[in-house]
Symmetry: C2
Subunit: 600 residues, 2 copies
């Protein structure tokens, strides 16, 4: 039987219709592409994932990354995946031709990531971080740095990482203490420790290129004193040979899930012989790193959406094969003379499956929305470019958080569908359940994202991003109002947008009065509230396209459209009302979490 | 440092004040007890848990139960715990003196279970199921069965289990096929398979007494043809020796969590030599089993509440030691000149800690409420006895479900407080996160409990149980209204009770029209809605007692009362409003989960 871990038909629908990929082909940057060439690429990546990723997913969990003799050892298949993935262009896909890249739209790149992450969430990080790190070097690094590192990285010979977190600092980057000492040749000696470095070491690369945040020895305190360095695990001598760069692998961190993905503790410069090279200007490291960080946040979003998707298909498969129980008959009793039915006939199982569906598909659509905005920002000009960036910045904390937080709920429901079996190692749901739990922590926890959303993105440029969002939602609402079936949902959507405005009006009083603690106290509740709205918008957007297909006619489109309309109906019945509860909480001015009493 | 995994002060407050244990001492059955003797017992069980349970909690996860040479082997400490636990009276505590029991109130028994489960959730099941199985035999079994089995069980030499689930039947007990063939001596030959049998085999008991549901060979179909049997793994010969009873251990089921707790696959009568003895009358097995099942459901509730409690104290400890980040200053920015603060000073961390607190403490209070009702039903007479049973039946699906479902959320928040560290095996939160996930599946999934609540308990005796609940809530509301601080919460509570009535009026239309599928379609949403109300009632009840203490004056009571009031404030701001969202969903008549379209 074929592996089912994502829905190719849905992915095509999202790519080509909801998010209008072909529109991007009109830009010079992407004019070599067409629908067919993208479809061929999707098919080849699916076939790669079917053969090389999915069959090894459970094995990687059972034989996790481990630390032996100063080195991390990962599952042998990871070497093959890196090699073949690089050959397929999965590291270089987004890069321009001049760097040997495929110059693909970011939108296509995220569609590919969806396939890879759904097939096996242990592996796309190795490729993705290398791509992200190389992208950071091409964006801000010197020609010398680009020439030395990027070609090796895009070929998958050298791997890239993000080295931010330190044991004492955690989420608080202003407290990092890794230090860079300027040398006479303009390189720096690096001294410090980094933890939780994903893909930080393994046996399948000859070099690791750590994009490292450190503080130049005379730097000011706080985030304004942070610089960005390229710190390879091995550095190149004048004659081109690689020598050890005093980056010590101190251990592998044993985790709840994603056990095939190495999480490394690194020590830089224990023997005072670790050299790093500054990227861009001193003290601007954090702003550079945010380029990679924002990409990484979207990557976490697609990864969470894809794990949840794979779990959804596993539950769907089980629910379509397992017979148990009987429907409720006319008398309110189950009729025991009847044969047991498939569990997907029970209302509560259907509710859980539909909940999985709306979370997964809504999340994926949002990821692709953000990817498309990244493309527009990259290739267009003038106002369109600016607006794309504004909207993308507003949506970035949401695209990281909603798939992560709600993906946990989605997979937990998926496990529940299997009953006791879901809790056993005989079925894969428990692995997805463990794997996805990291996503609300990676790259800024939900608490951090929520403060970013409410504290920075919402008030940004006097609410300009929010105004753009309102315009985007209204344009979908306006189309939906013309459709008899969709118009009630369009009206509801308008009500919820108004509710969002009302809540922000309420909260902004505190910001205006300088009471920032109060303004931000319930940022996480606002995140839940706001992201529910955002995913509602995505569902309405999908439904508009599905109805358009249906009105144009052929049978498969009609069936597919019904499934999309099911999602819309479900989301508006079961999910959107949560905004009403959120609004009640957000307008309650009992700021108990600011009290200085217990717990403490 | 002392292990902190539960709060003895809170437990005393709940036992002696909120749930008025001393009131029970007035009944003949419990008149040998007093407050001091209960306190001594609590202290000795805490000391047992400190020394023998808590220190082995992580080890049991790391060396899980395993199947070797036809036998299950569990962690060696489990043998010691069973022996010492039996000596302490932890199996026999609820039993009458005539069985060698301590004749303790069920309320005290659940307080003890809370301590044991919070210390190490792998082990109380071994004792608890033995107690429950023995209780079932004393309640419905013949004198012969009682004499043969109960003394050995209460001494912990023989262990008891519940053997219900079969591979093909899962939650659908009407489909069990294990068969009992009547023999000339009135015993039965048993043939069949049972899976997921907790504590079904291990090296620390000389016999396992399986309380087994089976169908007598000529029985009618469905649940009305199910009988209850005692099926020991070894049976006693006339001369008193134990011989093998053809109960084969076929394997151990490898689980996501609770890995120290054996979960066994058993085969009865493969060699046609498995003898069982009927308990009570033929075909009435399911009604007898419900006695044990209802106890087991409360036990799952206390277990979930206690795991969540232990996780809460682990998060609280971490949040009180870990420094990271800075509070938001007057300018809306973090002041980097300041030293980092403990993370329990951050509003969002405090929100997560308080969420844990309200779930754990609200759940525990509800468990003790139900335990007290069990006592009243047991020892009182007349109307009080009847009413206690009615209310207990209504609350049983809630006491099983709320701590389980919300316990998962609580522990997930606890893990989040530790950030990346929470996801690592270096900290215990990930173990609690895995362990608690089974509780919403054990002893009837949340879906099953929800149908029991809305389909049976709510309409039972024309809504008599619900009327009693309303009376109970109103009596708390009436006291709270007299208190200046509590009166706003009392008013809110009245509104929410009205909302509950309104929703039930709405739903009952469908039942009256014979549209039972529609009536029950959103039973799980009703469960969330209704259990939020129930826990709100518990918080108001706790607050009333705390305020009473405070008004009587001494300082510790004042501090303690503030913590309880924090819980009340938090619950009413963040949790109760979810009922409004639930009401919106429950009154939406788009019955999408009853549609016969996808997913299928």
């Amino acid at each position: 039987m074929e592996n089912v871990y994502f829905n190719p038909e849905l992915l095509r629908f999202l790519l080509f219709q909801v998010h209008d990929l072909s529109e991007l082909f009109k830009y010079d940057h992407y004019h070599d592409l067409d629908e067919d060439s993208v479809q061929i690429l999707l098919d080849s990546v699916k076939s790669f994932a079917d053969q090389e990723l999915y069959p090894f997913f459970r094995q990687m969990d059972e034989s996790p990354a481990r630390f032996e003799n100063g080195k991390i050892l990962v599952h042998p298949q990871i070497g093959k995946i890196i090699r073949k993935g690089a050959e397929l262009g999965l590291i270089s896909s987004q890069f321009e031709y001049k760097y040997g890249g495929m110059q693909l739209p970011v939108l296509v790149h995220y569609a590919l990531l969806h396939i890879l992450d759904a097939a096996n969430n242990n592996v796309s990080g190795y490729l993705g971080l290398t791509s992200g790190a190389a992208n950071l070097i091409t964006s801000f690094g010197s020609t010398k740095l680009i020439e030395t590192f990027v070609p090796q990285m895009l070929q998958g010979n050298w791997m890239g990482t993000m080295a931010l977190t330190e044991p004492q600092a955690g989420s608080s980057l202003s407290d990092i203490t890794t230090t860079a000492y300027l040398q006479s040749d303009q390189s720096y000696k690096i001294v410090g420790q980094k933890i939780f470095i994903s893909g930080g070491d393994h046996q399948f690369a000859e070099n690791f290129v750590h994009l490292t945040l450190a503080r130049i020895s005379d730097a000011p305190a706080g985030t304004k004193g942070i610089s960005l360095f390229v710190v390879p695990s091995r550095r190149m001598e004048a004659d081109g040979t690689l020598v050890d760069n005093d980056v010590i692998t101190a251990g592998e961190i044993n985790k709840l899930g994603q056990r095939g993905y190495a999480t490394t503790h690194l020590i830089f410069g224990e023997h005072s012989d670790c050299i790093g090279w500054l990227v861009g200007e001193p003290h601007k490291g954090l702003s550079y790193m945010f380029k990679m960080m924002n990409e990484a946040r979207m990557s976490v979003g697609v990864s969470a959406a894809s794990m949840a998707t794979a779990a959804y298909y596993a539950s769907l498969l089980y629910a379509g094969q397992r017979k148990q129980g009987r429907p409720i008959g006319a008398g309110g009793r189950k009729e025991i003379e009847q044969e047991p039915v498939l569990i997907n006939k029970h209302a509560d199982v259907r509710r859980m499956l539909l909940l999985q569906k709306v979370i997964c598909e809504g999340s994926l659509s949002l990821v692709l929305e953000c990817a498309r905005l990244t493309d527009i920002h990259r290739v267009s000009g003038g106002e369109a470019k600016e607006e794309a960036l504004l909207l993308l910045e507003l949506l970035t904390p949401v695209v990281k958080t909603y798939p992560s937080e709600m993906g946990i709920i989605s997979i937990s429901n998926g496990l529940q569908i299997l009953g006791g079996y879901g809790y056993t190692a005989d079925f894969v749901l428990q692995q997805y359940y463990r794997d996805i739990r990291i996503t609300s922590i990676y790259e800024g926890t939900t608490g951090i994202q929520s403060i970013d959303l409410l504290g920075r993105k919402i008030p940004w440029q006097g609410g300009a991003a929010l105004a753009l969002l309102r315009k985007e939602i209204n344009s979908v609402v306006d189309i939906a109002r013309q459709d008899m079936i969709l118009s009630p949902y369009a009206e509801k959507m308008k009500d919820y947008v108004r509710l969002n405005d009302k809540i922000l009006d309420h909260l902004s009083q505190f910001a205006k009065a300088g009471e920032y603690e109060k303004y931000l106290a319930d940022a996480s509740i606002f995140m839940e509230f706001f992201s529910t709205l955002i995913i509602g918008w995505q569902w309405l957007k999908m439904a508009v396209k599905a109805r358009k297909n249906e009105n144009q006619g052929h049978a498969p489109a009609v069936n597919f459209s019904l499934e999309i309309l099911d999602g819309l109906r479900f989301y508006f019945k079961y999910e959107m009302p949560k905004m009403i509860a959120g609004a009640e909480t957000l307008t309650n001015t009992d700021f108990i979490t600011l009290d200085k009493v217990k717990p403490n």
